[in-house]
């Protein structure tokens, strides 16, 4: 089994490593980090989108020309050169029109489907602080992470390497807030420990409920063990309105091929090999003319 070498031996603490044994978590510890996206205060200005691209030195595609018009959106969605984007959707509701504007990027699941699906040791890592990141040097380009992801996030470049939000791990490691949080002009983005963010979210939630958003809720899907990005949704009963899956969880198909099928596979294949070997030592090869030779 390959060993994870990201950031050396004394780097960030690791919680999970793809296709590898769980790292010893008694060595290092870190608080789980989170970003709270307060949809009720988000004006959809895309400062986070621009800031993200700038910090990560990305050059997002310029969507111009016929067939390349996406309304208020910068483009159709995530891309290897675009780690996050703002989604705009209009909905008529009984309480009037809702312009659902949502920041969309990797959610940094506590139980990351990408990491679970990844067959290459160390290509996907989850740090002790909850950040999920890719290590291209170990990636084999199989795209299984895409199947593992319940949020349709990883995007592949021409070399079949996946890209996504890395929670600005470089900034976070240096004690700075992620770039999107830094740029947000209306404080719709909050950054801190997951615990703090949940407390803050709950406080804001009470405010929203007081304002008449009775169905408001905090989006922190338990199906993936909670997420590093949590959302405060004014219309919490309908996360689809914001382009978020209602029941986000790792597909049972993925669990199937990473679990039972793998076990059955080993039994079958090792069993077959063993069977062949037993045949050989118990009965020997099936040779020609045995009968004749015996008679002779």
């Amino acid at each position: 089994m390959a060993t994870v070498t990201t950031e050396g031996t004394v780097g960030l603490g690791l919680r999970r490593v793809s296709a590898s044994k769980s790292p010893d978590q008694s060595i290092k510890q870190a608080d789980q980090l989170a970003i709270l996206v307060d949809i009720s205060s988000c004006i959809g200005c895309k400062a986070c989108e621009a800031g993200c691209s700038q910090w990560h030195d990305l050059k997002p595609s310029l969507n111009v020309g016929q067939g390349m018009f996406f309304g208020y959106q910068s483009g159709p969605g995530l891309a290897p050169n675009l780690f996050m984007y703002m989604r705009f959707q209009e909905h008529e509701t009984p309480n009037g029109l809702v312009w659902a504007i949502t920041k969309y990027q990797c959610m940094h699941c506590a139980d990351p489907g990408c990491l679970k699906a990844c067959p290459s040791p160390g290509a996907i890592i989850q740090y002790a602080n909850g950040i999920v990141d890719f290590d291209h040097s170990k990636c084999i380009g199989c795209k299984f992470c895409l199947s593992g992801c319940p949020f349709d996030v990883p995007r592949y470049d021409a070399n079949n390497k996946p890209w996504k939000c890395n929670f600005c791990i470089d900034r976070v490691s240096a004690g700075l807030e992620p770039m999107c949080v830094k740029t947000c002009p209306t404080n719709a983005l909050h950054f801190g420990t997951k615990e703090e963010m949940l407390i803050r979210a709950n406080k804001l939630l009470q405010g929203l409920k007081k304002r008449g958003f009775e169905k408001a809720s905090i989006y922190d899907p338990p199906g993936v063990g909670g997420t590093g990005y949590i959302y405060l949704l004014p219309h919490g009963d309908k996360p689809e309105m914001y382009g978020l899956p209602k029941e986000a969880s790792i597909s049972p198909l993925v669990s199937l091929w990473k679990g039972p099928v793998k076990l059955i596979g080993s039994i079958v294949l090792w069993g077959t090999l063993l069977g062949a070997f037993l045949q050989l030592i118990l009965f020997g090869p099936i040779k020609v003319g045995k009968k004749h030779k015996k008679e002779g």
Binding site: S40, S41, C42, I43, G44, C45, K46, A47, E49, A50, S53, Q54, K59, P60, S61, L62, N63, V64, Q66, G67, M68, F69, G71, Y72, S74, G75, E90, E92, G96, L97, V98, W99, I101, P185, T186, N187, A188, L204, G207, K210, R211
Partner: protein, 799 residues
């Protein structure tokens, strides 16, 4: 802004109308969010489109572009009829009790005030004055019952604006209007405040000034001016447009809102007399100091050449026959009456109405200098001219610097002046504007020195005391603006307070005898002897009200809330403990509080809080406006419906209509839809399209169309459509939306079409200039074009 950005957090109600702060002032809008999260304030958005502000508002009302005065009239009427006004406030702090001359009249049938001259399209404003007593003081009726007192006139005037009329004109259903009216009226309580946020959505009308006047009336009635969380807050569109305005950005001003001499003011004495008002009530009448500011300005400009004997070189200043505003400049240019043009950091082609007319006009110049950071549409204007081969204009494009490439100050909407430092060197041969100005000036001066010329004195005698005259620094200029003593300045007792040669501590010490020089009285105090206060970054906020007295410098005199004396009742006690801000300390005999008092600190409470006016009181009735003392609903010049209040006077009767072959106006038969232009948050004017990183955010010019209209036209999202007006057309991708609904205006279905402005011929992304289609129509008070509300039709472009 009469209050500051941070103060928005103190509001109980935030009415956004005529602006889209979430879109255009996202950083400042955080204070509105804060008010809601921390104090439970409500945000109400009234706009022709469900925009990004609406997306986070508590209540959204869709209004027809150009019908805002009707809505405001409705609110004023509601407050008056339901007695929701702050009676003490309006009696003592406004001109409600003033008696108006009987020559004032308004005819609701014709929609005209008295004194209208249809030939000249002008009012005789002298008919609208107050009745004065023998001492020259305004007559008042403190019971507010005199039939000709402002209060009664106003009540009668706005009684026509019933909720039903509001619905018929604006398209806002009566019940929705009343829901909002109730919330707005509640802020008339002494412990509540509403703030109003507006921007170009209100100024871009042929009645823009009146529109803002209508809000002034409402806020005065509710007692919301001068108090924390109140105010009328004009959100300025550029980082430093407030600074530009303060420094004579318009032809009708000299720095600090002083006036340029007129032809009938040939002597300084004449000029100062004409501009020094006489108090008509217990008023501090601040403009009584006009002469001090004017003389100090002349001293700053002309130094030793300005002497008491030559009226401080007043004769150097040109005396203008007529106000030359932007509309006039552009029209003269089109008529071939201009020779050259210097444009610094401005794109007059893209940002003014009727691009065709402007382009043709620019083509008639001999030369044009464009000082810019990009090659703008203005610099390559010939691309918009019918026959570019006929253009003889020689264009000089001088590469200049962006804000991060030079140091200097920004004056924000809240009047806070903050220093910014240079971050990077400009690329290539680009030079900052001070270098360009220095080089240009020194060359001009040496030419005048060598060749003489008709009148070289103003040029040769101009003060130019910079270490490197070819490249003055921003701080040197700011020092000159702050002002300095030319002799020892003494107080009443003869003590020297400022030594000769030292910079003055504020405009309070300015004199009209030539012993002080001050380049810009309003900013005086920003650079006292102790140093540049724009550089101060103390973030302490002792009152917790967001005053931050040590952060930057807020003109005037580092005052954060203007008219803050009004935060206390007539006796000087705070209106409420919650809104405590400034109060009269009886024992000390002076005003104290959290901010610099906006009144002479020892002036007793009977003096009115509105110190800039000779009344000392806020004007509910504002005679100096050229189009009427009360804001009346007039339709935009191009309107889809008749003016139901007075069909004979559909639009602003004093507005100047230009009549050249390109000044075309459309009618609703041919152009049935209402169009409005606006910005999107991702772009800054015509700049950010030159930058890749911002271009990708919203790369394509688009046209927002109500879904119902899109269906009628057979247009889907992403189809190309063309918006056509009498002036021209603009193409973009169709964006059918639920966010603009068809409105029912007086029984007629009216569609609104939205056109964002940010594209042009130059840049990373290209598109139509929205101003190809806008009308060359201007507000008669402010000379601002009517971009919001004109007529268009929409065509599908066949692929």
């Amino acid at each position: 802004m009469t209050n500051g950005w941070n103060d928005i957090k103190n509001a109980d109600l935030i009415l956004v109308m005529g602006g889209n702060p979430a879109e255009n002032h996202p950083c400042g809008f955080k204070w509105a969010i804060k008010a809601r999260q921390e104090r439970g304030a409500k945000i109400i958005c009234v706009d022709p489109r469900f925009n990004r502000t609406a997306a986070v508002s508590d209540i959204f009302l869709q209004i027809r572009p150009g019908s805002d005065i009707a809505f405001m009239g409705g609110l004023i009427n509601y407050v008056l009829q339901n007695k929701k006004y702050n009676e003490e406030y309006i009696k003592h702090f406004t001109n409600a009790a003033y008696i108006v001359k009987d020559t004032y009249n308004f005819d609701p049938q014709t929609g005209l005030f008295s004194g209208y001259d249809p030939e000249k399209k002008k009012y005789d404003q002298s008919l609208w004055g107050y009745e004065l007593d023998e001492k020259g003081m305004a007559k008042k009726d403190m019971t507010l019952e005199h039939p000709r007192c402002v209060f009664q006139l106003m009540k009668q005037f706005y009684s026509r604006y019933t909720p039903e009329v509001v619905e018929k004109i604006t398209g806002i259903p009566k019940d929705k209007f009343l829901e909002v009216a109730k919330l707005v009226a509640e802020t008339g309580a002494p412990d509540k405040a509403m703030t109003h946020l507006y921007a170009l959505g209100w100024t871009h009308h042929s009645f823009g000034t009146q529109l803002i006047g209508s809000m002034a009336i409402l806020q005065l009635l509710l007692g919301n001016i001068g108090v924390p969380g109140g105010a009328i807050n004009a959100l300025r569109g550029h980082a430093n447009v407030q600074g530009m305005t303060d420094l004579a950005g318009e032809g009708r001003f000299l720095p600090g809102y002083l006036r340029p001499p007129r032809a009938d003011q040939q002597t300084l004495k004449n000029h100062i007399e004409a501009n020094t008002p006489k108090a008509v009530d217990t008023s501090m009448n601040f403009w009584a100091n006009y002469g001090k500011f004017y003389v100090s300005l002349l001293k700053a400009w002309y130094g030793n050449a300005a002497t008491p004997e030559n009226e401080f070189a007043y004769h150097y200043l040109p005396k203008i026959e007529k106000l030359i505003s932007m509309d006039e400049i552009l029209d003269r240019m089109y008529r071939g009456k201009m020779e050259g043009f210097v444009s610094v950091g401005m794109n007059i082609l893209a940002s003014n109405p009727n691009v065709k007319k402007i382009a043709e006009g620019l083509g008639k110049l001999k030369w044009m200098v464009v000082v810019e950071v990009f090659e703008t549409e203005m610099a390559s204007f010939w691309k918009y001219v019918d026959d570019p081969s006929k253009v003889k204009t020689e264009v000089f494009l001088l590469p200049s610097t962006l804000f991060a490439e030079k140091e200097g100050s920004f004056t924000n909407s809240g009047r806070v002046i903050k220093w910014k430092y240079k971050a990077v060197d400009p690329p290539g041969e680009a030079k900052d504007e001070l270098w360009i100005a220095g080089q240009l000036w020194m060359r001009l001066k040496s030419l005048y020195k060598k060749e003489g010329g008709k009148f070289p004195d103003p040029i040769l005698n101009l003060t130019w005391n910079f270490q490197n005259p070819y490249h003055p620094t921003a701080e040197e200029v700011l020092r000159e603006m702050n002002g300095y003593a030319l002799a020892d300045l003494t107080d009443d007792k003869g003590n020297v307070i400022v030594k000769k040669g030292e910079r003055i501590p504020g405009f309070g010490v300015l004199k009209d005898d030539g012993t002080t020089a001050c380049g810009m009285w309003l900013y005086s105090g920003i650079f006292p002897q102790s140093g540049n206060r724009a550089k101060s970054t103390d973030t302490s906020d002792p009152s917790g009200l967001g005053v931050y007295p040590g952060y930057g410098f807020s003109w005037p005199a580092n005052r954060r809330i203007l008219y803050n004396r009004a935060s206390a009742d007539p006796s000087g006690k705070p209106w409420s403990e919650k809104k405590k801000y400034l109060w009269w300390n009886e024992a000390e005999g002076k005003w104290v509080g959290y901010d610099v008092p906006d009144i002479k600190p020892d002036l007793t409470p009977d003096y009115g809080p509105f110190i800039m006016l000779p009344e000392g009181r806020g004007r509910l009735f504002c005679a100096p406006l050229v189009d009427g003392p009360f804001p009346e609903h007039y339709e935009p010049v191009e309107s889809p419906v008749e003016n139901i209040l007075h069909p004979k006077t559909p639009y602003n009767p004093v507005i100047k209509i230009y009549k050249s072959d390109l000044d075309l106006l459309g009618n609703p038969k041919e152009f049935p839809y209402v169009a409005t232009t606006y910005r999107v948050v991702e772009h800054f004017h015509y700049w950010t399209k030159h930058i890749y990183g911002t271009s990708v955010l919203v790369p394509n010019m688009f046209i927002e169309i109500p879904e119902e209209l899109a269906k009628e036209l057979g247009v889907k999202e992403g189809d190309k459509v063309r918006v056509v007006t009498a002036r021209g057309s603009a193409e973009g991708y169709a964006l059918p939306t639920k966010r603009i609904k068809p409105l029912t205006i007086n029984g007629k279905k009216v569609y609104t079409v939205g056109i964002p402005i940010h594209w042009g011929n130059e840049g990373v992304v290209k598109g139509a200039l929205a101003n190809m289609i806008t009308p060359f129509v201007w507000d008669p008070n402010s000379q601002t074009p009517e971009f919001k509300g004109f007529l268009c039709k929409v065509e599908k472009v066949k692929a």
